[in-house]
């Protein structure tokens, strides 16, 4: 945490992602999942998005790599507007790793193949190179012995750890986490959060939608509270958790803490 505050010295701000007035409508505008969201994320930040379900936090996160196509507004990644149709979104996605609630490992491939597929096909890495990197990452999350296994042979926590290192194999600048622990049995949540904490400490820029308030408080550099498709409050974990301003945040915290 201390190292992180240093990195965030004034004047050193260089937003990796800038979200400007993002809107997402469903059913011909009847539902506003995002209703004018603006957000800046700096390099090395760990932004934790919290909020009740249906508040638009997942939609916001999925918009950041265009898994959801926004109805209006802009998303600038390294200064490039990725909502522009002429931008090659596939190149941008390579810089943004994503971890899903339901892991989405490829069941027909071994753990190792899951991890080496994208680097080999998209980064044109050699098999040896890709596998060496994958094994190194697997070792970091304590799964090097499972490299030859298929996803169905792994527990939920193991699957999610593999999903995280699969994304890391593409050496992303930003990691997006979409409720990474929600589908896990309680005893497996810890092992996944530990990996995420290590990642945060290593300086990875992270955007994380989660219900793990402990994680938000401990690792987050900024907490964003969303409700009704809007950002209602944002600030340091200390501000949000100990000094909530809006009634809705108070009510939300009262329920989840």
């Amino acid at each position: 945490m201390d190292a992180r505050t240093e990195a965030k010295a004034p004047g050193d701000r260089q937003p990796v992602i800038q979200v400007k007035n993002l809107e997402k409508h469903y059913n011909d505008g009847a539902i506003h999942a995002l209703d004018g969201v603006s957000l800046e994320i700096d390099k090395g930040e760990v932004v934790v998005i919290i909020g009740p379900s249906g508040s638009g936090k997942s939609t916001l996160l999925r918009s950041l790599n265009l898994l959801e196509t926004p109805t209006a507004g802009q998303i600038l990644v390294d200064g490039v507007d990725i909502t522009n149709k002429h931008v090659d979104i596939n190149l941008h996605r390579q810089k943004m790793g994503m971890v899903f609630q339901h892991f989405n490992l490829f069941p027909h491939m071994t753990v190792l193949r899951n991890m080496t597929l994208a680097p080999m096909k998209l980064r044109k890495k050699s098999k040896e190179e890709a596998e060496a990197m994958a094994m190194e990452l697997l070792a970091k999350v304590g799964l090097e012995s499972r490299a030859g296994d298929y996803p169905s042979q792994l527990s939920g926590g193991q699957k999610q750890r593999v999903a995280i290192v699969r994304a890391l194999c593409m050496e992303p600048e930003v990691m997006l986490f979409d409720e990474p622990t929600s589908a896990l049995d309680p005893e497996m949540v810890g092992e996944v959060l530990d990996v995420m904490k290590d990642l945060a400490r290593a300086g990875m820029t992270m955007v994380c939608v989660t219900h793990e308030m402990g994680f938000a408080r401990e690792v987050g550099t900024r907490v964003v509270f969303m409700d009704g498709g809007r950002i209602l409050e944002e600030g340091t974990p200390a501000d949000i958790f100990t000094n909530p301003q809006s009634d809705r945040l108070k009510a939300f915290l009262a329920k989840v803490l």
Binding site: N65, L67, N90, L91, R93, Q94, M96, G97, M98, F100, H102, N104, L105, F106, P107, H108, L117, A118, K121, L122, Y150, S152, Q153, R166, A167, M170, L176
Partner: protein, 463 residues
């Protein structure tokens, strides 16, 4: 042990089948042994009855050779089937030697009688001829030398009250002193020499009939009594039918050639169907997922709707007679095209189902790594979809194999047509149709077995 359970079940079923077969054979054999036991005098009585009842009267009843036959039985044994075998001594008169000696004289005499009567202006009928010859023959038989010898006769237990004597032609001929040889000779020649000239009497009806009737054996026939059991009769009839339907004139080649055609049509149609089905499925799922390719999707939907909404036989008739025959395309490629198009529609729905069944998260995961839509499809979605639908595809193949049987409607010489061809030659229904069904069934069983092995392998690789 569990691993071999199927093997054990198979062995037990095979063993039970063998036991049942054995029992059937035993019972059949039992029923084929004579239940009648005869003493020597009883056997002699049966033989005497049989000989006396032979319709063997020479010259219109004036002489009966059968009256002069005496048979003495000296041993009774029992054979494999329902035979009762008798070793006998017989005594009779040697008709053959008399006939050979006097043949020329008799024929000349009867012709002289005929000429004399007809020149006198009298109508000469067959009855007149017979009467004149009868007297001559009676004298000859009375003078004929005695003949005796050993002979084996066979009684048959026909399941009635008494056993019947089965006398074949050789036996009858022996017992009657060569009378059958005489008859055959008379019927074969019926020419005579008159004052050094060969005269044919074939065209003179009364003369010919008069001579033939004199040897009185025209009503004689030697049919073996039917002592076979129903099982034997069924087997003989089956074996005969089998021979006629499959062996004779190598008719089984209709089936083997037809089978080859059926397999070729099915295989080629499957290839075509998989290609068409795959393309259609990709178009339709891409439209569903991405909203692109509207026109192609409309076309694909139309194709699937039409093919799935009409009977395959009508499709075949339309494709061949309406579309392809006018431009001179052969039956075989027409059948392949039709069944390819037909199976393509079903295959496309199977593959489409498989693609749609792959969790959307797989697509998202691929896209989030930076893969485009097409590479994600190729590397991530399609392998999973194919694995999931492979058994269904194989079942479609099995269904296709059976469906191709309608190809005979446009005259393709497939398995069905081969069988029907045999049927039209032999006029039998049972064997050709059952053979067609059996071949299809065996093919389907083999394929089904392969599919289940495949499914097992796929399941193993998932674990």
């Amino acid at each position: 042990m569990k691993k071999y359970r199927k093997l054990w079940v198979g062995l037990i079923i095979a063993a039970v089948c063998l036991v049942v077969l054995g029992v059937v054979i035993l019972v059949d054999q039992q029923s084929r042994q004579s239940s009648i036991k005869l003493t020597v005098p009883e056997a002699e009585a049966v033989v005497g009855e049989a000989v006396r009842s032979l319709p063997l009267k020479v010259a219109n009843g004036s002489v009966s050779v059968a009256d002069q036959v005496k048979v003495t039985v000296h041993e009774v044994t029992y054979g494999q089937e329902k035979d009762i075998i008798l070793q006998c001594t017989y005594e009779t008169v040697d008709i053959l030697s008399v006939y050979q000696r006097e043949k020329q004289a008799i024929f000349t005499g009867v012709y002289g009688y005929y000429l004399e009567r007809s020149q006198a202006g009298t109508m000469v009928s067959a009855t007149h001829i017979l009467a004149w010859m009868g007297q001559e023959m009676a004298d000859l038989v009375a003078e004929a030398p005695a003949l005796s010898g050993e002979i084996t006769l066979t009684l048959y237990d026909t399941g009635g009250d008494a056993p019947e004597l089965w006398l074949d032609d050789d036996t009858v001929n022996t017992l009657l002193g060569g009378l059958l040889t005489v008859r055959n000779d008379v019927n074969a020649t019926e020419t005579l020499t008159w004052e050094g000239e060969q005269i044919s009497i074939k065209n003179n009806n009364s003369l010919r009939r008069g001579i033939s009737d004199c040897f009185g054996l025209n009503n004689y026939s030697s049919d073996q009594p039917d002592a076979s059991t129903p099982l034997m009769r069924a087997w003989h009839s089956f074996a005969n039918d089998f021979y006629r339907n499959f062996i004779e004139e190598r008719r089984w080649t209709y089936l083997t050639k037809g089978l080859a055609t059926t397999l070729a049509i099915t295989g080629l149609a499957l290839l075509l169907g998989v290609v068409i089905g795959f393309v259609t499925a990709i178009i339709r799922t891409t439209h569903d997922k991405e909203g692109k390719l509207s026109f192609l999707n409309w076309l694909g939907t139309l194709y699937v709707t039409i093919i799935r909404g009409t009977p395959v036989m009508i499709q075949l008739l339309i494709i061949y007679f309406v579309l392809l025959l006018p431009i001179g395309i052969e039956k075989f490629p027409a059948a392949v095209l039709c069944f390819g198009l037909n199976s393509g529609a079903y295959v496309s729905e199977i593959i489409r189902g498989g693609i749609m069944a792959v969790d959307n998260g797989q697509m998202e995961a691929g896209r989030s790594l930076g893969f485009g839509y097409v590479p994600t499809m190729i590397h991530i979605v399609l392998p999973q979809a194919f694995k999931a639908v492979l058994p269904s595809l194989c079942n479609e193949f099995i269904a296709l194999l059976k469906e191709t049987s309608v190809a005979f409607y446009i005259g393709v010489a497939d398995l069905t047509q081969g069988g029907l061809k045999i049927r039209s030659i032999t006029y039998s229904n049972f064997l050709p149709l059952i053979a067609i069904a059996a071949i299809y069934l065996v093919l389907v069983l083999i394929l089904t077995r392969l599919v289940s092995l495949l499914e097992k392998r796929l399941r193993r690789s998932e674990r």
